[in-house]
Amino acid sequence: MTAVPTLLAIILASFFLMRLAPGGPFDGERPLPPETQAALQTAYGLDKPLWEQAWIYVSRLVQGDFGPSLVYRDFTVSELVAQGLPISLTLGGLAIILALLIGISAGLFAAVRAGKAADKTIMMIATVATALPTFVTGPALALFFGLWLDLLPVSGTGEGWSWLIMPVIALALPVSGAIAKLTRAGLATVLKQDHIRTARARGLPETKILFKHGLRPALVPVASYLGPAAAGLLTGAVVVETVFGLPGLGRYFVQGALNRDYPLVLGVVTLYAALIILFNLFADLIYGWLDPRMREG
């Protein structure tokens, strides 16, 4: 139940951090006359004391109002976020599903062949995958499959689903490597335990032992990795959205930060923080389902 205070702390910290910054949202190419500056400041409530501004911001936020964007003048932050959120969520959601599929099956495959060449090869590939930054794999994929082979669109959302393929792969690769390693390590420990030996002694088929008795407890470390993974995916999404020119939340964040669009940046940070906190809660639920001993505490 620490979710709400944590979220509030993040919002306030970002709010005050941003106001420490030199420069404001109305610094254009040509400096505005002081009267216009002052009028704009008053119109957006930027002339009030900081604490009052923070209070106004939070009380509006509770009602779902993120305030107006200072740079995209015709839009409210809620409108911009409503455009960006579905794109970022689709990217992140598909990436985590893909990473879980690849990671768990690779880890399972390696654990069954523990110590053999296949195990070592898979684990080496997994290590390499964890070290692949999205800002290298993204452009590299675009170069190979977009420019050279001309199979997939290099930028924008376009029609159909093909625009999702490369961004999702670039996002999922490092996460799937980490999940493969965790699954492999978890299974290695679990398969040595007494209940597995009992199952073997009872003559159960190996696949049943693996999937019914082995995999579930072995996935506990994977579940506890899901929280950090979500944070990593959101950060990666910023890069992927920039590389592939997708109008998601991450792009608005970068643009907003560079333009001092306070409400836009705050809105995106708030949403990101809320998403990560939600995902951590969700991971806790999975945790309890995987390992019933965790449910008590």
């Binding site: 910290a13 070290a131 964040f253």
Partner: protein, 266 residues
């Protein structure tokens, strides 16, 4: 030192060789990293004195790679050291004092783990300008969490050992015990995690530079080179593939080496 010469440590030697090359090359090459060769814009590889060709405004690619690698590794080492100092101080205090203080300190670490930290770092970069000093202090302050957890666990375990109890009984002040008896015993594990922090930091620094928020021109880093290469990849793919490949090579080697060290010590 002898142990490092074993075959298992090839990743470390790859990294050290790259580092040595990055330091030596600028002294030998006929071009500096920011010098423009007006006669050879986007020159292909092996044309004249440009071994890897030139970029979209005629700067020697190899010289830029060397300069970028220097900056990236320097920032990485400095930031990893910041994280080492903060992590050891925090973890050792929590582990040594124990009780409520420990609980509060580790709760704080847990809370920070769950934060979208990258976004706070981005905000910091935007706010306080983009000095190289701030880049590594900012990254170092983010990456100390794991170190603090590991060090705390080690200190908790050591605290119960007879030689520590003996030192306490003999009246040594806590700080002396921590510095003289505990730190030497956690040095190995700390080194392993330091090694694992370096690729993390490289990743963060390059990420920031890629977004245009890290190291600033005229300085360059691998992240900036990847960005420049990505922007010009339809004309000269080499501009993306060279720094991207080098960055991945460094990250992979550092990760493998760090994981091996960690497995040795835990």
């Amino acid at each position: 030192m002898k142990a490092l010469l074993k075959r298992d440590h090839w990743p470390l030697w790859v990294v050290l060789s790259v580092m040595a090359l990055a330091l030596i090359l600028p002294a030998i090459l006929p071009w500096t990293y920011d010098q423009i060769d007006w006669d050879a814009v986007r020159a292909p590889a092996f044309s004249g004195s440009h071994i890897f060709g030139t970029d979209e405004i005629g700067r020697d690619r190899l010289a830029r790679l060397a300069a970028g690698t220097q900056v990236t590794l320097m920032v990485a080492i400095a930031a990893a050291l910041v994280s080492l100092v903060v992590g050891i101080a925090w973890g050792a205090t929590a582990g040594w004092v124990g009780g409520k203080v420990d609980e509060a300190m580790m709760r704080f670490v847990d809370a920070l783990y769950a934060l979208p930290f990258m976004f706070i770092v981005i905000l910091l970069m935007v706010i306080f300008g983009r000095s190289i000093l701030l880049v590594f202090v900012g990254i170092g302050l983010v990456e100390w969490l794991t170190m603090a957890r590991v060090v705390r666990g080690q200190v908790m375990a050591l605290k119960q050992r007879p030689f520590i109890l003996a030192a306490e009984a003999a009246g040594s002040p806590p700080l002396t015990i921590i510095l003289k008896h505990i730190l030497p015993n956690i040095a190995g594990v700390a080194l392993a995690y330091l090694m694992l922090t370096v690729p993390q930091v490289v990743m963060v620094e390059s990420f920031l530079s890629f977004l245009g928020l890290g190291v600033q021109e005229p300085l360059t880093s691998l992240g900036i080179l990847v960005k420049e290469g990505a922007d010009d990849m339809d004309m000269t793919p080499l501009g993306l593939l060279l720094p991207g490949g080098l960055l991945v090579l460094l990250l992979v080697c550092l990760t493998i080496e760090g994981e091996r060290l960690r497995d040795t010590y835990s």
